[in-house]
């Protein structure tokens, strides 16, 4: 690939080019991404992302925690879709343990995951539109996001760092009357998506700014490891939820939006349609929500209910043991991937048979997607960089971990 061989150095270029920093403190780099641009007038000659400003060493931290204690760390990776990260990690450990998860927990997980996806896409849409200058969409999106965050707060007590999924099920029963506001939201939301689309999809300026911009072919996208809407925007029809289902996604019917154009608009339209599909999944989950337990039947792994803990000796002992010394996980390794709002989120968990993971590695969708940026932007204009960054929807917390 050509763009790899031309990594820029930091020295000012030849006579006509200028080295310009975009970020880390820049209004449009979504966190602390730093781009080093070499520009000729307004044209991008070379572009190099510089990351690591948010590196917190989560992977190292995980090695010092019990399995259950890692869950809150996963929230912090991708702070726009904490539940997706919870899910991915939890599924990986459950796979290591060989745990069977009751259907209600699975359906709850799917429902909350789709709400998370909408939440993440709303933040993306708002900021992406704001980058391109459409101010109002941002506030409209955050209005709906607020509703979703309220739902999260209801169910987990937290707006962002939910940590609601636990190894073996859910942390708590969903509160009484939780499904009613979810249903209301699900009924209300499609009209709101129409509202966003009214402002953007048909808007000629939006079209000019996004159509044909930062185009990437399907081959390049695959070669560069793109996933999620970024990949589907280039015409590769692949969605883990449908193609390699997990957590009961096989029980839901939904379409996977694909666009052939591979430009900013294609990625935009894929994500907007995804929001509609997600809300349809939420509806299905609400309609078919099974009854039953929310935790797996594995007393050595799953914390007992408060009720039992106070009445049964055995439960109290398990509770004490799980809290103080964790639970041992059989030796082995597992790679579990889920379809996060940004693409393939994968957790590679290695166990050496002790109560702490030997190694936890997160495959961040954004890290791979970010590699597309030079291929998208070189030879284009400065303003296209902004559109391109927005269109690959990066979250620096996930990239840097």
């Amino acid at each position: 690939m050509a763009h790899l061989s031309s990594m820029p150095t930091l020295e000012p270029g030849q006579d006509r080019t200028m080295i310009l920093n975009m970020g880390p403190h820049h209004p449009s780099t979504h966190g602390v991404l730093r781009l080093i641009l070499e520009i000729d007038g307004e044209t991008i000659v070379r572009i190099m992302p510089d990351i690591g400003y948010l590196h917190t060493g989560i992977e190292k931290t995980c090695e010092a925690k019990f399995y259950q204690q890692v869950v809150p760390l996963t929230d912090r990776i991708d702070y726009l879709c904490p539940l997706t990260n919870n899910l991915c990690y939890v599924l990986a450990v459950e796979k290591l343990l060989g745990l069977e998860i009751p259907p209600k927990a699975q359906w709850m997980r799917v429902m909350l995951n789709e709400l998370t996806r909408i939440n993440s896409h709303l933040v993306w849409l708002g900021t992406h539109a704001l980058d391109i200058g459409a101010m109002s969409v941002f506030l409209y999106c955050f209005r709906e996001r607020e509703d979703i965050l309220r739902l999260f707060e209801m169910v987990s007590g937290q707006r962002m760092m939910t940590s609601y999924f636990r190894i073996g099920g859910l942390a708590l029963e969903p509160p009484l009357g939780f499904f009613e506001p979810v249903r209301q939201f699900a009924n209300r939301f499609p009209a709101k998506v129409d509202e966003y689309e009214n402002l953007l999809t048909g808007n000629p300026i939006w079209g000019m700014r996004t159509k044909g911009v930062a185009r990437i072919t399907a081959e390049d996208a695959v070669a560069l490891g793109a996933s999620g809407p970024t990949l589907r925007g280039s015409g590769v029809d692949f969605d883990l939820r449908r193609d390699m289902p997990y957590s009961g996604y096989e029980n839901f019917s939904f379409k996977v939006p694909v666009s052939q154009d591979g430009d900013v608009f294609a990625r935009y339209i894929c994500r907007v349609r995804e929001m509609r599909e997600s809300i349809a999944i939420v509806q299905q989950a609400l309609d078919g929500m099974p009854e039953g337990r929310i935790k797996a039947d594995a007393p050595k792994v799953v914390l007992p209910d408060r009720e039992k803990m106070k009445t049964e000796m055995e439960a109290l002992i398990y509770h004490f043991k799980i809290i103080t010394e964790g639970f041992a996980v059989p030796e082995g390794e597992v790679y579990q991937a889920v379809e996060s709002p940004r693409g393939e989120m994968g957790y590679y968990v290695v166990s050496d048979g002790t109560a702490k993971p030997y190694r936890v590695h997160m495959r961040a969708a954004c890290l791979a997607n970010l590699q597309l940026l030079p291929a998208m932007c070189e030879g284009r204009l400065l303003a296209d960089v902004v559109a391109a960054i927005g269109s690959i929807d990066i979250v620096l917390g996930e990239i840097d971990r």
């Binding site: 790899l4 990594m7 590196h55 991937a337 495959r363 590699q371």
Partner: protein, 164 residues
């Protein structure tokens, strides 16, 4: 779903297209294989990782054309110490395979960036955090840590409180 014991016999795993293809190409390159928790792991001899990757990528029947991830596990103080882990995905077959390369104390392996440019950041990250060198990588510099950082934080012998 109770755990089933891992299968490590090469003969039992020959049915898998990726492994079959590899064995047919060069059985020397395959050091072993493991099928555990529905996931296939193939141990590759260090010098042939690049060829194996391009072989799997271009396989007509089952192209593992998507490099999902490259990472590393440090088994210090065991030897060989490092395991480089490649996760491949076949978009058409919807199947995954894991390749592993074991490296000793002078960790060096061929870069697969020429096969998948996607490996660029992944390999840089491994270099940054484990100090594994990837030969042929176009820009092997630290990715997450500062340029002047000392040591490789994800190694098991890295002092957690930093070098004093």
């Amino acid at each position: 779903m109770p755990l089933v014991p891992a299968i490590t016999e090469l003969d039992q795993l020959k049915g898998h297209p990726a492994l079959a293809k590899m064995l047919a190409w060069n059985s020397e390159a395959v050091e072993g294989a493991k099928f555990d928790r529905d996931e296939l792991t193939i141990y590759i001899e260090r010098s042939s990782i690049r060829e194996v990757c391009s072989l799997l990528r271009d396989d007509r029947d089952c192209p593992f054309n998507f490099l999902v991830d490259v990472t590393c596990v440090d088994w210090y103080p065991k030897q060989p110490r490092f395991e480089i882990v490649y996760h491949l995905l076949s978009i058409t077959r919807k199947e995954r395979v894991r390749l592993k390369v074991r490296l000793g104390d002078s960790p060096e392996v061929d870069s697969v960036t020429s096969v998948w440019p996607a490996a660029n950041y992944f390999e840089r990250e491994v270099y940054d955090l484990f100090g594994v060198r990837f030969n042929g990588h176009p820009y092997l510099r630290r990715l997450l840590m500062p340029e002047d950082w000392e040591g490789y934080p994800l190694r098991k012998d890295y002092p957690v409180e930093g070098y004093r």
